[in-house]
Symmetry: D3
Subunit: 318 residues, 6 copies
């Protein structure tokens, strides 16, 4: 029964599989016996669960932990509930089944980045970029790209970055006067400092911005990181300045956090690809929750516009 | 010697080939004999030319005409001058050698558009788009995309449109939730009414805007054209509205002429692709005239920024 | 008792007259007998009503219908209630008594428009305008001018249009260099496409905007209508372009939906007269609900200002 | 020959009439004899003039003076020149023939204002307004309404004010909830402090703004004037505040000098009538110098738009 | 026990001292006996109080009155309550203990202003300023500087003014080309008309803006006051204009209520000092309620920024 | 005669002293003999100079060099000219006499900074600031604060910084909740990276911005410098972040280059002091060249306002 998702559980089913613990409490029942009360979830929804027999249990599941359960599904007061029979810490759980996640695995996405860096003609640029990736460290594997709006999901930062990488390859092919090394390097590093800007748990869920994020921000922090990476790798000269400018200008204008406008074509293209990838992700999400032929509510972060979900290519009337 | 361009002419060379007449005047020399004084040009530059023997010449070249000449090059007062020996109207001249031009021929670019339309899954959309192309007529073959800035060149409108078409195919592949028919149709028609907005000569040089362009503009005129095309083809329903909205919203915001923001994903993508293609064309032009390692002057239509031409991947110091 | 309005009903009165059905439900009473429960209204308010004896009733009143009733007024749980004795569909009800309405009848207002069109010196303009009025059809008789704010009432669109017509005659007299035909034609047609922009019931109450209204809007739709009207009437030339420009520019600036600013004096005057008539209607409404000597709350659609109701010419202190 | 204007003078004509002295210089001719050299003008143009015989002349015309001349017209070096035979100071010259002027006489315009004030129902308001008019004094007779743009002419301030008065009467009739006394009083006084804001000569030509105009401006100075007028007349209470608010808010928004938006309907109407009258005057001037069927240049003070002069009701093609 | 503040009261304490009456009601208890129910406060908080024995009491305390009480503190339903034993009107209460107040007494602050005025070199300026202070009258002693935000406290207007005076002395010393008389005079009078703009009770608590405040505002009212003061004192000339300009321009730009920008250095300095003093007061308040190392919520009147309370110079980690 | 300045030279004077070479050319006179032609200047103006006898001269003065001359002053074609008798490289010239300069010597200003740093209570902050000063190096001694506008002079950066330091001490005294160390440290370092942003010669004259200045700017470069200084000094923790934020936010808003608004009180105060010092310097300069009682032209960098130079405390009329 491992393929059943939480959203599809019904009374009298059994469920065996991994779930994420949202809340876990030890309580005392009316009969005076202790039991464990959980909220458990996967990427499709959440369910209340009880473990009635806690005698001899020598560990306590905590919020944020993934557990493996064998259980039955019951109906209680009109709502379904999980009665846990066996429970243990999960081994090697698949995050993408448990929380909103990028469609590819972090490993696969990092592999694309690694291949791209390996293909650079410029040795200096390769060393700079590898150093910057190393500075972000393991956080890169699970960080989202934002607290809300686009790519707010497990590994969303890699999702956004690799989506941009593919688009950037296309843009380089269409406008061959662009320098591929420069544009792709900009794509890979442009949002790395989001790992300094936000506090994310291991599931890509952001609780708040950091002091560094509020007082400095990921664009300017990115400039300082490039400085540091250049020092560590011994790379000097124009390429360092170019990478710093791409970090700084990728939001495109002062009102959105870039004190400098993009001033060479690859910086401009980076800004454009960043915006497009974010915008398409946002619009796909809105379209998926708006019926065909209908308008969404006003969307504040899209300049307050309403989005229409065309029926086309279906016929006009449902 | 047909491959010599005007920019490379030097004294004592001969030149045989086609040139465009910018000015043509019949004058009387100091000896009392009439001669013809021309300014002639190709895409690389212009030159003064004289035809001293006009006896028995039974036609008069006029500005805007292409002529075929056999001539010698002389030095006069420190500037080179062409002495024309034989002259006749050109037969089947290649416009792209004579004025700034799109890199591909109009025929080749129109073929790409035709293939794209032929590939549409929606018969209604195909009929609408073909009708709209027909409404633009032959002007589509030589019109520029703008009076200044991007794609201000012979067949620049086709250049811009087909550049966008290629990019749009990439975008559809990267964001498969987009409807390819809809986006590509939007690309093909979005600027067709520039042929109503500006007055262009047959070489793609714009002298002024039309009354229709100033009072209505190509976006709103485009909406009226779609209405007309729908009536002629009998296409009805949502697809007509979608195409009108793409026409109207492709400049992205009221301040740039779109009273409505793009409200479905393909309309948004159209706006982004339009902006990118225009921007890349502008920046390439600026980069080509700015030495590596230097900054351009402030560019008014790029929000007054200066553009930098990176030396990279060349070494830092020249 | 026909002159009694709903707002003035009191226990033990009788009421005979026409009312609009807001809601109508067949219910079963505690005794097991069916009865009809209504919300009925006129322009001054609404009242709950019961029809206890439904036996042999072979029709069912529905929301939006006008009915003629004979009834008594009772007090129930501290609120007044209507007990209906006789009920039938109303014949030829006067809408202006039933919902907020323009002060003049649609017929009278249309007569003013007809006279104005008949007085045009330009035959072309007369044909264009008559065709456009015909395209709006019967909706013109009951449509409001807006969902909220100004002239949100039965026949409010005619109210707004004829108010502007009178003002425009004055403006023409004061600034005789203006062309009367052109300005008055612009006034008559400028908001006709609001009938495409909003969904109104027959009482001038708007439930929502249409897809056409959201994606295109009444200004640009108006341009397309003029194109269509010109085709149908065979009118060609500058006058078509002038009418399209007045349609498009009457909101005065891009931020309010006009991608083109008014570019001839009559277009400018149209914009000003439109603004004044809307503004005076809004301010009169606010003044009527604000006591003399007091300020209103902040009004969002008046740039967040508070309005003052002067005591003048009354003495300062009440 | 008194009806000939300067713009129509031709060689061998004689001219007898009044002209305004723009410049006047005593010079010494080649023969050693002194002569007077003038630039003289009327409302249609200017001409160079010489008075060769200055012996026994016991007065010297100065710039800004109006003189009566008898003269002949000659041609000199291809330009016409006036040879003055007799000259004397003009008695009771008609300013409107000599400089750009309001179409009505100052006396006639002031009479309209006086009648309007006399018709006020409110005695307090009449006294306030009369006091304010008195504070402006004789300057009101010749002041223009602006240095450039609208009503920059002799008595232009009265022209603007009386044009608004007529329009305001219409507005009161169309929107009868407005208080006529209040609106008309506002119209009469709204620009009186332009006489403190600018330095005008007696012909309504403004050389510069005053220190008061630059540091305070006519709106706020108007508030202080109302305070002063109230003190002098003993008028107190709400009406003083209302008049001050109309003074302050008549430019409609902070960006145009009004720190307060109009907050009662008459203040709003005043702003609207002021704007319309100024705008119509500007547009009429532009239209008069733009050929039918053509566009003007971009007009900076009309938000950079170009104005179109319609051919309508004339046929399309000239 | 007079030193105990309301915020520190605990059950079984006694309290003797002055308190401000926020609400006062006569009620009938369950036993049928009347009692008085109060909300009483000092600057630190408020408490419910009862006076059970009202027989023979020949006066009734009212909201806004200061009373002297002898009382005991009790616990009732988990909240503390005051049981009043003796009550009488307070004699000469110290406002600063009862409401949020400026740190210095009004008398001390007015003395600083008086000394400053006495030190002016310009006799004209001294007379003007003294007259303006007199026009504000006693309200100056208790008025706050604002309804909310900065210096919203008893005598806050004096607090703000004297804070600015001290800073202005420093600025004059640092930039000696500034005229000290002019700048200090500007500081003293710049906000005097806030006493006309708002309705404050005697404790510096503002209930609303006045009609004068909404329709005219304290900047423009200030200009009229200077005019009046000049008339009364007989001061004329440039100094009157300078003072009016400082009144009018001290908010620095049209969007904040100044139709004129500061146009001489002392006017500019006045604007800056005003802004700094207000801003520092606001920020100090925010910092005091934000823990070290934490961020405040977004502050609307600080352009929506969050404020950080540094731990420095304390060590980083608590 | 060493005290004579260039602006006071007259024919037949002699001049002995140091001058700065603006241009220096070796030319051949009409007689065939070579001579040297110079433009020489001091802080008050410039003069053409000739050295006729160049035989045996074994060095050539160059632009930017300071020379010591003995010379006579002559009149030639109505303009004065210097005839040089003896010339040698200057030894230890006083820059402040030769170009527009800060009123104090660089040494004196650096001493103030050094004393201030020495007075810090925080050892960490002292080490950070000293390292940052060291990174700016000797350029700090002569750099101006700007290319134009405020403190565009020799050692103008020190002038601006020390002016702010004094003001900041006052601000700390007036608002004692501010941390003195933090604010003064911010003042000292805030503009240090202007030495990276502009190219200045040794006289404080800026020819252009650097690539670093255009692509990154002194605010963001300052953040990177603080990072570097922290690494070198081993300082860590909140203080590093605070200094980086002050660097980044000191222009106060995104439109002026600060992507983050000041978020703690010392950062806000730094911004205010920076603006005031710049503004006062600009206004003093304008006032010095505007006669009392007159207005300046419109000043673009002061939001296009005109500045008034008050006559006060002098009597009104000159």
């Amino acid at each position: 029964m491992e393929n059943v998702t939480v959203s599809k559980l019904k009374p009298d089913m059994t469920f065996t599989g991994d779930l994420l613990v949202r809340t876990a409490d030890r309580r005392t029942g009316k009969t005076g016996r202790d039991y464990l009360d959980f909220t458990l979830c996967d990427a499709t929804g959440e369910i209340n669960a009880k473990l009635w027999n806690v005698d001899g249990m020598n560990w306590m599941p905590v919020a944020g932990q993934v557990i493996s359960v064998e259980s039955g599904i019951e109906s209680f007061n009109g709502r379904i509930q999980m009665r846990i029979n066996r429970i243990r810490p999960a081994t090697n759980p698949d995050m993408r089944l448990l929380v909103p996640s990028a469609p590819e695995s972090p490993e696969a996405m990092r592999a694309l980045i690694d291949e791209t860096v390996a293909s650079f003609e410029s040795e200096d640029l390769r060393r700079l970029v590898l150093e910057l990736i190393a500075m972000a460290g393991d956080r890169l594997n699970y960080f989202p790209a934002a607290q809300r709006m686009h790519h707010a999901e497990y590994a969303g930062l890699l999702h956004h970055t690799t989506g941009m990488l593919k688009m950037a390859e296309d843009v380089c092919r269409r406008y061959p006067f662009l320098n591929r090394d420069l544009l792709l390097a900009g794509v890979i590093v442009h949002d790395l400092c989001k790992t300094e800007e936000m506090q994310s748990d291991a599931f890509g869920s952001v609780s708040d911005y950091t002091a560094d994020g509020i007082l400095i921000g990921h664009l300017v922090r990115g400039v300082a990181w490039v400085e540091e990476a250049a020092r560590k790798t011994g790379v000097t000269g124009e390429i360092v300045l170019l990478m710093q400018h791409m970090m700084l200008s990728h939001h495109g204008e002062p009102a959105f956090g870039s004190p400098k406008l993009p001033m060479f074509p690859e910086a401009e293209a980076l800004h454009w690809i960043d915006s497009l990838d974010a915008r398409m992700n946002e619009m796909q999400t809105i379209q998926e929750r708006t019926p065909a032929g209908a308008f969404s509510e006003r969307i504040a972060y899209l300049d307050d516009r309403r989005m229409y979900h065309p029926r086309f290519p279906a016929p006009d009337q449902p």
